[in-house]
């Protein structure tokens, strides 16, 4: 049924650290690798070896440039490059679930994971229209909707060694930028992380109440003056001489000339 559960016992989800993500796309690759071989239809690629390749991914990494405001009388702060992984946020108020005409899209009451039952999906695409985050992609070959499963086939999988019972993207991240846990439990590691680092929701105004949280980049350090010799170097030719000096003064005197 595409009615949302009134509440879920757990809220399993991810916490993504925008401070430590280095944009290596390892999570993209491991996600595709795990999910193309396991739960549901494989994640197809089209024209994979041409100039016009495209394919289905459940997790993608964007990169943004953020320019802090340039204040008068201060050196311009450097722009920051922020890598931004994005997969399904397993929203509490998931609009993708309620729009589904077949009941294929559903949210589990036990842990809050949002899944697609691929045997029921007619591939109408409406759930992807309803998701503000671009977390759902219709597979071009299989004709069914694909989305992040929170690696439901890993996290409860007793055939895997204990340390592997985590989402593939979390397990693989070399900079520990992705964390997995229960966000309904205020004592969980992820909840503590969110509280301490000021984790936030994406597009809160859309009213989806995402489970996944993002941790903001930490403020950048101010670079100290590290060239210890610089103060001892005498300035070269502070006063010019002769013709060059005259030319310098004359040009400066022109309207708009540099002093």
């Amino acid at each position: 049924m595409t009615e949302l559960p009134a509440s879920t016992a757990k809220k399993l989800g991810l916490v993504i650290d925008l401070d430590t993500c280095v944009g290596c796309h390892a999570c993209v690759v491991s996600c595709k690798g795990w999910n193309t071989e396991n739960y549901g239809a494989p994640l197809s690629d089209q024209n994979a070896y041409s100039g016009a390749a495209s394919g289905t991914f459940l997790n993608r990494v964007h990169s943004y440039e953020v320019q802090p405001p340039i204040l008068k009388d201060e050196p311009a702060p450097a722009a920051q490059l922020i890598h931004f992984p994005k997969s399904c946020l397993h929203c509490d108020d998931a609009p993708c679930v309620t729009v589904c005409p077949t009941g294929a899209s559903y949210k589990r009451s036990e842990d809050g994971i949002v899944l697609v039952n691929e045997q029921d999906c007619i591939g109408c695409g409406l759930c992807a229209w309803a998701c503000p985050y671009g977390a759902r992609e219709l597979d071009a070959k299989e004709g069914v909707m694909k989305k992040c499963t929170l690696c439901v086939d890993r996290i409860y999988n007793e055939n895997l060694p204990e340390e592997d019972r985590q989402p593939a993207c979390v397990r693989t991240c070399p900079s520990n930028a992705r964390h997995f846990g229960d966000l309904a439990d205020p004592e969980s590691d992820v909840s503590i992380l969110v509280a301490e680092r000021g984790g936030f929701d994406l597009m809160p105004e859309q009213g989806t109440k995402p489970t996944n949280k993002y941790l903001p980049p930490r403020p950048k350090d101010v670079e100290p003056e590290y060239d210890i010799l610089a103060p001892y170097l005498a300035p070269v030719a502070s006063e010019g001489k002769g013709f060059v000096n005259w030319l310098d003064k004359a040009l400066s005197a022109l309207p708009g000339g540099a002093k």
Binding site: C124, W129, L202
Partner: protein, 291 residues
């Protein structure tokens, strides 16, 4: 949004077909025999043809029956149920007219209500989407209903009713366009809220997640083609409303005049439906620095 031909054709022709079924249902006109047959064939061509066209964009049309199950939450499911129920009821009503020369009035009225509900549920599939601020507005269902009623009146030869409805629909379309232009901004969803990075400074998309395109970009980002929007709006208003109204007012009504008015109206509605999709901006585009 990508203006997929299947959806444009579906919404246009099923709107016209159900509009015609509405007028037939309330007995305006109530033809019998062969004439009734022609009217009903026309209506079903539009309504059923439109519904069939809409199944072309499904990944698994063979499972379409499952789509009737989620009427509690899903407007798409409700639309399917309303459409099929209306078509069944009106088939009975039509059979009464064609074969027995009698109008089973309660069935007709029920079918007429069903036709309006079908058009309304179709419009709500779009109007419910918070992700597309241009659509999430009362003008979306109002316009779908008005266009369907006006087109249906035109097809059923109710000229006196079609004229004011066409004028009203044209005016409402203009209002919807002008008001809709500002709605993305008014929705408050920006790159700042999408990334949560706005507190640091100005956010700019630096690199997309991949070198090529993907499903999301194909489906939701349609920047090309919008540049002629103004011209297309004028063409849509001219063909959809101004020309049919002028033709009906100035020429003495006969079959040729009616056909000209209908064809012009359909071309106009197809154009404005193309714009309905092509100009609709999905918030996901913000993640790509596009609209």
């Amino acid at each position: 949004m990508h203006p997929a031909p299947s959806v444009i054709i579906f919404t246009t022709f099923s709107g016209l077909g159900f509009g015609l079924l509405f007028w037939l249902g309330i007995g305006m006109p109530a033809p019998t025999g062969w004439l009734a047959f022609v009217y009903f064939v026309l209506a079903y061509l539009g309504a059923v043809g439109g519904l069939l066209a809409s199944t072309f964009h499904l990944g698994h049309p063979e499972r379409a029956l499952k789509a009737f199950s989620q009427w509690k939450t899903s407007w798409l499911s409700r639309e399917g149920i309303c459409a099929v129920a209306t078509l069944l009821i009106m088939a009975l009503y039509g059979a009464g007219l064609v074969f027995f020369g009698t109008a089973i009035k309660p069935l007709g009225w029920l079918g007429a209500i069903g036709a309006l509900l079908t058009v309304f549920t179709t419009s709500m599939i779009y109007a419910q989407l918070k992700t597309v601020p241009r659509w999430k507005h009362w003008t979306t269902p109002a316009l779908f209903l008005l266009l369907s009623l006006a087109g249906g009146a035109l097809l059923s030869g109710n000229v006196g009713i079609a004229l004011p409805l066409l004028v009203l629909a044209g005016a409402l379309q203009a209002v919807a366009w002008v008001h809709g232009d500002g709605r993305f901004l008014a929705s408050g969803t920006t790159m700042k809220s999408a990334t949560g990075l706005g507190d640091i400074g100005e956010v700019r998309a630096f690199e997309p997640p991949h070198t090529g395109t993907n499903y999301l970009m194909r489906e939701f980002i349609h920047e090309v083609g919008r540049k002629h929007a103004l011209q297309l709006r004028i063409i849509a208003l001219g063909l959809g409303f101004v020309l049919p109204v002028l033709v009906l007012l100035l020429l003495t009504f006969n079959l040729v005049v009616a056909v000209i008015a209908v064809l012009s109206h359909v071309a106009g509605v197809l154009t404005l439906r193309w714009l309905f999709f092509a100009q609709a901006e999905h918030v996901v585009g913000l993640y790509y620095g596009k609209r």
